[in-house]
Every structure is written in C-alpha cells, then in structure tokens.
C-alpha cells in the first residue's frame, strides 16, 4: 500500500489565529482514517485546506505524490479529492437528481453508470429522485451529500462530521454506508466528534487538540486508550479500573 495523501507540517491560520499548527499525517490507499477531537481542534480547517477552500499558510499536501497545496478547489476535485461539507449543505432548491449531477460538474463523460451506482447505494434517493433536496429528512440529506460527492468519482472522499445532528439509528446507517463505500475501493478521511462510532469504523485514527495532533494509532488501539475514553468516549477512568 502506498500513501494516497501525505500531509507535512501543515499550518492554517485565520487572520493571525492559528487553527492548525504543524500537523503531519498520512492516509494509505483503501483506508478509513479518522481525525477526532473537540470543537475548535482544527479538524475542519485541515479538511478545508486539503480541498483548497482555505489557503494553507505553510506546509505541503501531497496527493498521489503530487503537490496540491497551491491548487484551486476545482483542480483538486479533478485530481480526485472531494469534500462532503459539514452540515450536509445540499442544494435545497434543486431536485435530488440535479444535486447528483452538480456533484459530477467537473466531469465531461457520461454519468448514467454513476447515478445508478449512487442509487444502488442509496435506494431512498432513487425513490425521491424528483423531489427538491430541501424537502428531504436530515438523514436523507446526508445520504444525498455523500452521493453527490461520490458523483465526482473521487479516489479520496473526505467527510466533515457526517453524523452531525442525526438520530443515533440514522448515524449507524451513515457509518454502514461509509464502510460499504470503502469496501468498493474509495479511501476515506473522516472528521468526527462522535469518537465512538468513528474509531469503530476507522482503520487508523489521529487525535487533534488545539491545532496539533497529540495521539495516533489504529482505531482499536485508540478506542481502548484510557485518556481517549475519558476525554471523548464519555467513560471515566475510575469506572473502567
């Protein structure tokens, strides 16, 4: 396996405030990797700078050994990275099908096969093909946001808090889908506050705190780490002793 994404000494700041400080990590092809951490730890900023929505201050972002840190977003999408933005952000006044077509905006070839693929993954979307995206439920909108991102045929799909604001049973469904997509060969970089679910699904994980990566390991290792349990999984140290 080779690194599909390699981040070295990445810094991102907003008007003098450093959101991401010298972080380095890598994602291997075919993996699910998750970044977990509290609010304001810099997880979203990291994703946004990888996809070019935020200009990194310094550092390098290698995608398939190509430097992409200075590329605009549309070029990065063509290279094969797509972001599922936080809070779903579907195009509410467009139909489900139109949303999917927008996802493939940068592609010039035929879409029929991919639309069928997405509809196979999410049969609910097929039923609602002609419905306006704004009228879907939260869970369905999250499915649509993921399906829309898949339409660009990404090699790496990055998801920013896919479980945000969803009922627990729906969250389970979202993570099932994430595993399914991964099985079909798409590498996934996942940012989550729902550390429990994320660590279960991920092959490897990184913990971010105030802009730095403080811990890393396999999903299983971290899920059993006492400090992680105390800080993110809501189990106190004493209770487990």
């Amino acid at each position: 396996m080779s690194s599909i994404l390699e981040i070295k000494d990445l810094n991102v700041s907003y008007g003098g405030i450093k959101a991401v400080k010298d972080i380095s990590f890598h994602v291997e092809e075919g993996e699910i990797v998750t970044l977990i951490g509290a609010n304001g730890a810099g997880k979203s900023s990291t994703l946004r700078s990888i996809v070019g929505l935020e200009k990194p201050e310094s550092g390098s972002i290698l995608f398939n050994e190509k430097e992409i840190a200075s590329l605009p977003t549309d070029r990065i999408v063509v290279e094969g990275i797509t972001l599922v933005p936080e809070g779903r952000r579907v195009f509410s006044d467009l139909t489900v099908l139109e949303n999917l077509k927008i996802g493939a905006y940068m592609r010039k070839d035929a879409l029929d096969e991919d639309i069928k693929w997405v509809y196979d993954l999410f049969p609910r979307l097929k039923e609602r093909s002609w419905q306006l995206a704004g009228t879907l439920s939260g869970g369905e909108q999250q499915m649509l946001a993921i399906g829309r991102a898949l339409m660009s045929r990404p090699k790496l799909i990055m998801m920013d808090e896919p479980s945000l604001g969803l009922a627990p049973i729906i969250v389970q469904g979202v993570f099932d889908i994430i595993r399914e997509i991964n099985k079909q060969g798409v590498t996934i970089l996942l940012v989550e506050q729902n550390a429990n679910m994320a660590l279960k699904a991920a092959h490897r994980a990184y913990v971010m705190e105030t802009g730095r990566i403080t811990l890393s390991g396999t999903g299983k290792e971290l899920a059993e780490n006492e400090e992680i349990k105390a800080a993110y999984l809501g189990k106190s140290k004493e209770a487990n002793v």
Binding site: V51, L53, P72, T73, D74, I76, V77, V78, T82, L83, P85, R89, V90, F91, S92, D93, L94, E98, K101, I102, G103, Y105, M106, A145, R148, A149, S152
Partner: protein, 363 residues
C-alpha cells in the same frame, strides 16, 4: 408527453401568437394602447428575464440593469444614426466624430457587447461583494455611467445631455417580440444547461458549490456578463421603441421597475417575469392611467387624493404587500409550460374534457 409532441406544441403556440399579433396589427388602429403595451412589454420582458438570470438563478442581487440598458441604447443609437442626419443631431458638436452607420442587427449586438464588456470590467472588483453590498455597488455603477454619458467632454460621441434621435426604429409589434423571443430562448437554454445548474447551485449554497469544484468567481462573472449583454440588447430595443433617447431616462427608478416585474413574476421563473412584465406595463401605461386624473368622479363623488403620478403609489403598495404576504410572486420558481397545463387539466377534469379543450384550441 413525448418530447416531439412538446416541441410541436410550443412551436405551434409561438406561431399562433405571432399570427394573432400580425392580425391584430392589421385590424386595430396603429395608435392603440394595446400596441404600446405589447411593444414595451416585450422589451421589459427581456430585461426582466436577464435580471432574473442574475437575481433569481445565480443569487446575485444586482441593481445595475438601467446602466447596462443605457450602454446598449447609446451604443445602438450612436452606431446607427445615418451619416446624413448626424449634422443635425450633433448640432452642438460639429456633427460628432463618428461618420458611419451600421445595420440594425449588428448595432443591437454591439450594444449588448459593450454592456457585456463593461460588466466584465466592473465585475472584477464588484463581484467579490455579496448581497446588499453588491446591490449598492452596481446601483452606484449605473448612476455613474448615467452621469458620465451626460458629460460635455464626451459630447462628440454621446451628444452630451442632448437627445439622440433619427436612428432607425421599428413599427411592427412583431419586431420586439421576435428579438426578445430569441434572446429569452437563449437565456432559457443557458439556464437548462450544466452552466445553469451550476448557477443555481451557487445560489443555493456557495460553499457546497465550491466544494463540488464549481469556480465561484468564474461562474458569477459569466452570469453577470451574460445578463448584462441581454440588458444591453433590450436597451437597444428600448431606444428603437422610444425613437429618441437621453441618458437622464435611465434612472435608478427604471431598475426598480424591472425589479418590481421580477419580484411580481416570481424570482427564479422566466415565464413569471414575462407574464408580469406585460401586466406591469399594461397597468402603468394603460389600465391605471385613470388614477392620474385629478377630476375623477364616481357619480357625484369626487375621488380624493388622485393627481398626476398617483398610479406609482399603487405599485409601491403592491410591492410592499407582495413582499409581506405573497413572496413567491405569480409563478414562484415554477415555469408555465404546455406540459404543466396539460397535466393540470388532466388532473382537474379527467381525460375527456382535456380532449375537448384540445379541440377548441385547435380551431
């Protein structure tokens, strides 16, 4: 409905409309108010649709439409005044400095192009702004352009603050209908293309659109330039309709009239803009004229408040009521279509009466 059937219906309707207009022209006296409404309505429909492309489909709240119409109107007029008449038109500027006249269609397109070039240039800085700020900047641009065109130093080209006249005009009501129709059809094709879908995505959610790889700056500029092109063409048509033009016509009040049409028709509906354009022009030029009559009596009752200009008050009230209670306008974001009507009648009256309705239509 099959695609070919839809196309035949649409072509048939357009042909029927043109034939009806042609017959009306033969039957009614040429001074009839109806023709004023139809001509001006067709021109305003084009500029309203162009504004809708920007405000309704791309989500850019721009108020520069009058400025771009001015550019189109002046370009058209300056390029088409026959050489023989130039001495009398530019009497204060020794006949001006332009000594050729272009054919009408080329001048109309040139008018659109000049408006588009200006849109491109001011779009570079201005499109970085959002919502209200963009509206203020574009409104300012329109006012500045109007002042610049009245500037004495530019007189040899623009004739300063004097009238431009003697350029070719149209007489038949078919002319603005055909030109506007072609332009609106082009806009509709654009809206239904992948570009149009990208515009709508930008309107719905800029961040998500950007994350999908849509280049925001490029697409916003594209929408702005195309919208301004068609505003320029409609400005040229307006010049033809008015037969004389002057920069002072293109005040911000004109932009507000267009905005009113767009809002009443439904922000995001092309057919809504067209319908409300004719309604608005009919009201302002014809049906509500009686409100300007100071001595209106119903029986022996002298209606109070009425005086010249009172009809404008009605529009102000209408727009307030619309914004408060009926924000989606006549059409909302829906479109009037043959298929829609067909489905509507089918739902309402079942299959048999649809056939009947179809029959009566064909007669």
């Amino acid at each position: 409905m099959s695609k070919t059937k839809k196309i035949t219906w649409n072509v048939g309707l357009i042909a029927a409309l043109l034939i009806i207009l042609f017959i009306l022209e033969q039957v009614l006296p040429s001074g009839s108010m109806l023709f004023t409404v139809l001509k001006k309505g067709a021109i305003y429909a084009l500029v309203a649709v162009s504004m809708n492309l920007l405000n309704g489909f791309t989500g850019l709240f721009s108020l520069g439409q009058a400025g771009f119409m001015l550019l189109g109107a002046y370009t058209y007029a300056i390029l088409t005044i026959p050489s023989a008449s130039r001495a009398s038109v530019y009497q204060y500027y020794n006949g001006g400095i332009i000594n050729f006249a272009l054919p009408v269609p080329i001048a109309l397109i040139a008018g659109g192009l000049v408006a588009a070039i200006f849109a491109f240039l001011i779009g570079l800085p201005v499109l970085r702004l959002k919502s209200d700020y963009l509206a203020i900047a574009t409104l300012g641009f329109a006012e500045i352009i109007r002042a610049v065109f009245q500037w004495d130093k530019l007189g040899p080209v623009t004739n300063g603050s004097n009238l431009l006249r003697s350029f070719p005009t149209f007489h038949s009501v078919l002319y603005p209908f055909i030109v506007s129709g072609i332009c609106i059809a082009l806009i509709v094709l654009l809206i239904n293309s992948t570009y149009g879908r990208a515009f709508k995505a930008i309107r719905d959610d800029e961040i998500a659109a950007e994350a999908m790889g849509i280049n925001l700056a490029h697409h916003k500029r594209l929408a702005f330039v195309i919208s301004s092109f068609f505003a320029g063409v409609s400005g040229g048509l307006l010049a033809m309709y008015q037969t004389t033009i002057q920069a002072s016509m293109f005040k911000s009040a004109m932009t507000y009239e267009i905005l009113l049409i767009v809002v009443i028709g439904g922000i995001g509906s092309v057919t809504g803009s067209c319908i409300s354009s004719f309604l608005f022009i009919a009201c302002s030029e014809w049906w509500l004229r009686f409100l300007d009559n100071e001595n209106l009596y119903i029986g022996s009752f002298h209606v109070p408040l009425l005086r010249p200009g009172f009809r404008k008050v009605v529009f102000a009230i209408v727009i307030m009521a619309m914004v408060l209670f009926y924000r989606q306008g006549i059409m909302g974001t829906r479109e009037f279509s043959v298929e829609g009507c067909y489905n509507f009648f089918q739902k309402r009256f079942g299959k048999k009466s649809v056939k009947k309705a179809g029959d009566t239509h064909e007669q």
